[in-house]
Amino acid sequence: MFDLPSVSIPVSVFLYVYGAYMVFFLLYSLFNVYHLVRYGVYGFGLYTIVTIFTGGTILLAAGSVFLLMGYDWSAPLSLETILPPASGDGLFPTL
């Protein structure tokens, strides 16, 4: 018989979704910097803005990667890990 709670997928599947988002994010960020550099008024202010934006983006992306590296991405994600087990010691305790 088909047992729903035994169906599991590796957590790494969500990395593909994250990767797709990062492609979108990087494209928009590049377009943004391109517009600033192409149409911005030449001067120290423009360089400061581009530096802050690029620095912030690198900092956030690097911070995310650093935090994500600490996990085991082969861990399975199944309904058993979401729903409370019989012992009642799950992620969401039974009421």
Partner: protein, 188 residues
């Protein structure tokens, strides 16, 4: 890159009189929204840290929460950056001969137009509401002579002062042109 000393299609003896951006309150609004959207989840995580720390340590929920948080904070950063770019690239340049109107709407819509000062028929300054009155910002509308077209300087600092300067420049430009006309008539 755009240089104020090398304007597009610059005319002989043309000088930049005004370089206008929207009022700083527009940047302030972006900054407040950014800080609010950043601070609220961080404050909630700090307040409920005993519970949140258990979720972060979980082998499957931990990485999913980090992924979600990363997407959330990167989105806020990107949104704030695009909004700032929109503000930064919206400019109005008034020279002694023309008005250049550059408007950026999002990342993929940019409008650049110009009009000769001699074509200006009417200039209107508008300050609406308590906030605009206290912070001295508002709109200026520049109406051209023939067409229905008009330039709209949105949320700029000291609109009345800007209006006066444009009116003076228009008068000077018209006098200068009529002076040239007289010379031409004499030569004929």
């Amino acid at each position: 890159m755009f240089r104020l000393d090398h304007l597009p299609n610059a005319r002989p003896n043309e000088t930049v009189v005004l370089f206008i951006r929207r009022h700083w309150i527009c940047v302030f609004a972006i900054a407040v929204a950014f800080l609010f959207l950043t601070a609220v989840p961080l404050a909630l995580a700090w307040f409920f840290w005993p519970v949140v720390s258990v979720w972060f340590a979980h082998p499957t929920f931990g990485p999913l929460m980090i992924l979600g948080a990363s997407i959330y904070f990167l989105s806020i950063w990107l949104f704030a950056s695009i909004e700032f770019t929109d503000y930064y690239l919206d400019t109005w340049i008034v020279t002694n001969e023309r008005i250049i109107n550059i408007e950026q709407e999002g990342l993929f819509h940019r409008t650049a137009s110009e009009l000769d000062l001699a074509a200006v028929q009417d200039t209107t300054a508008e300050i609406r509401g308590i906030v605009q009155t206290v912070l001295s910002y508002g709109n200026v509308f520049v109406q051209t002579a023939g067409e229905q077209r008009r330039f709209h300087f949105k949320k700029i600092h000291h609109p009345e002062r800007i209006k006066e300067i444009i009116t003076r420049l228009v008068e000077e430009d018209k006098q200068r042109l009529s002076g040239h006309g007289k010379i031409k008539t004499v030569i004929k």
